[in-house]
Amino acid sequence: MKKTIITVVGKDTVGIIAKVCTYLADNQVNILDITQTILDGYFNMMMITDASACEKTTGEIAEELNTLGEEIGVNIRCQHEDIFNKMHRI
């Protein structure tokens, strides 16, 4: 399974989750887990997703989500989970 971690950080506004989820659904990316909170007025979300069914590479998804983030006015990153596993798990 090709797990990716998507993080969204930025000023809270209507429809952030909706827009991100619509993009993911359109690209056959399955959401496994969502954690979301508002910190000092800032929207903070982390998703663990499975992109095995998606034809695009993680790099391509990351670029498109980044563009989407710019449209909404938030910062969206999409990274292969291994960078976090490597750093935080022995």
Binding site: T58, A62, Q79, H80, I83, K86, M87, H88
Partner: protein, 454 residues
């Protein structure tokens, strides 16, 4: 499962604390390119490097996007050219043609530097070694991306003082040959004692003869991450301080290990080593000097600097060693002057002198690095500085290096601008008492007694 706190910590390191992988360096052996016909050597070198490195830059960029970690440089190191051109090159100009071929390949495959225009002369020079060394000024003046290094001594062999004398002259000649660009050629030229075969960092990277046909070496960085972590433990004792550096170095190195393994898999080239380094850049907050100041020095160069650096260097290694399956290269904290804003500030304030930097090189990862000195410094004085540094490396069984830039036409107090990652530097004063008679003796300094371990 990974939680939000951990994800945020990693991304904060990348976004706010300048965490990056400094370089993926592809080491390539050119031993099978040796030929007595110069044209054939050039053609074989061109073919071999383009064949192996054509996907290097793209692979680096793909990995960078996928994991969301910047990979700043993609580079190539090759077998010391003195060995490769020895059979074909009869003049220094013949060697320059090889430098031009390397430069052309570097531009075509898109790497920003190619290292290995080198000679290993720690005990003696062959005719080819000497021709290559004499070609360095012209080679660096007529190419853009070629880096040159010369190994002048080792703990096992002692110091080749004939070569030390010659390199003092060549450093000055390189400065003269590139004086239109503030003697930039010298930023691409470094001399070593105990040069490692698997160093991924420029200007000293070359692919040692003990290495496989091709290998991936990765250099990590992250002074900003260490600096931030230490700002969270201000006033705590050394135990807490050391633990914090170790944990941070571990995390930084894990990223390097991941990138190295991924690059190795995708390029189908074996993984060599991760170089555990704190490599500063001129960017704000990406400074080794600032870490030392965070540890408790008013300015780097103050009494206590050498001890703080020794501790930092050791903890970085202790934290990093467990994070990677193979560690090598230079590994430790770099203290270049022009590439570190904190060092530049300390020099400008009069806190940091050349002599203190020399003391610091006894305990840091390399040596006198990216230091601008007056353009009228005599060649023998540069040789004297090199000899001192080589002696420190030889006796302490560590790698030491000298990369000084005698800036032609500039004197103490003036500033020289190198641009990009190389930064800018104030011209530092050099001791003006002479050492000509010492340098002109000729011959070599024998290996120290503690090198006889058999």
């Amino acid at each position: 499962m990974i939680n939000m706190f951990e994800v945020n910590e990693t991304n904060k390191m990348i976004e706010q604390e300048n965490l990056d992988v400094r370089t993926i360096t592809l080491g390539i052996s050119l031993l099978d390119c040796i030929d007595s016909d110069l044209e054939k050597v050039n053609q074989k070198v061109y073919n071999k490097i383009t064949g192996l490195a054509k996907n290097l830059v793209q692979t680096g960029e793909d990995i960078s996007k996928e994991y969301g970690i910047p990979i700043v440089n993609k580079r190539i190191s090759v077998t010391p050219i003195a060995l490769i051109g020895g059979a074909a090159c009869k003049t220094p100009e013949d060697f320059v043609t090889l430098a031009k071929t390397l430069d052309k390949v570097a531009k075509e495959v898109g790497v920003n530097f190619i290292g290995g225009y080198s000679a290993l002369v720690s005990k003696g020079m062959t005719k080819a070694d000497e021709l290559l060394i004499r070609s360095i000024p012209q080679a660096l003046a007529e190419t853009e991306r070629v880096c040159s290094s010369v190994n002048l001594g080792s703990t096992k062999t002692g110091i080749n003082m004939d070569a030390v004398k010659l390199m003092g002259e060549m450093v000055l000649a390189t400065a003269e040959a590139t004086k239109e660009d503030d003697s930039l050629g010298c930023a691409k030229l470094v001399v070593f004692c105990n040069a490692p075969d698997d160093n991924p960092f420029m200007a000293g990277a070359f692919h040692g003869v003990t290495e496989a046909d091709a290998i991936i070496n990765v250099g990590v960085s992250g002074p900003g991450v260490v600096n931030y972590a230490l700002s969270q433990v201000r006033g705590e004792n050394f135990e807490v301080l050391c633990e914090t550096i170790k944990k941070t170095a571990f995390k930084i190195t894990r990223v390097g290990q991941l990138v190295a393994q991924e690059a190795s898999k995708r390029l189908n080239v074996p993984f060599g080593i991760v170089d555990l380094s704190l490599a500063p850049t001129p960017a704000i907050g990406d400074s080794v000097a600032q870490i030392l100041e965070e540890i408790g020095l008013e300015r780097v160069g103050a009494p206590g600097t050498t001890a703080a650096l020794a501790m930092l260097n050791d903890q970085v290694k202790k934290g990093g060693v467990m994070a990677s399956s193979y560690v090598g290269g230079l590994s430790g904290a770099f203290i270049p002057v022009s590439e570190d804003q904190g060092m530049i500030d300390a020099v400008n304030l009069g806190a940091l002198s050349l002599e203190k930097l020399e003391a610091m090189t006894c305990v840091c990862s390399v040596g006198l690095d990216m230091i601008a000195i007056p353009g009228d410094t005599p060649a023998t004085t540069i040789s004297g500085m090199i000899a001192d540094e080589m002696a420190i490396g030889m006796v302490n069984q560590k790698t030491t290096a000298v990369r000084v830039i005698p800036v032609i036409g500039k004197g103490v107090g003036e500033t020289v601008e190198f641009g990009g990652l190389l930064g800018y530097a104030p011209v530092m004063p050099v001791n003006t008492f002479r050492c000509d008679d010492f340098i002109n003796r000729g011959g070599r300094i024998p290996a120290p007694i503690h090198s006889f371990k058999n």
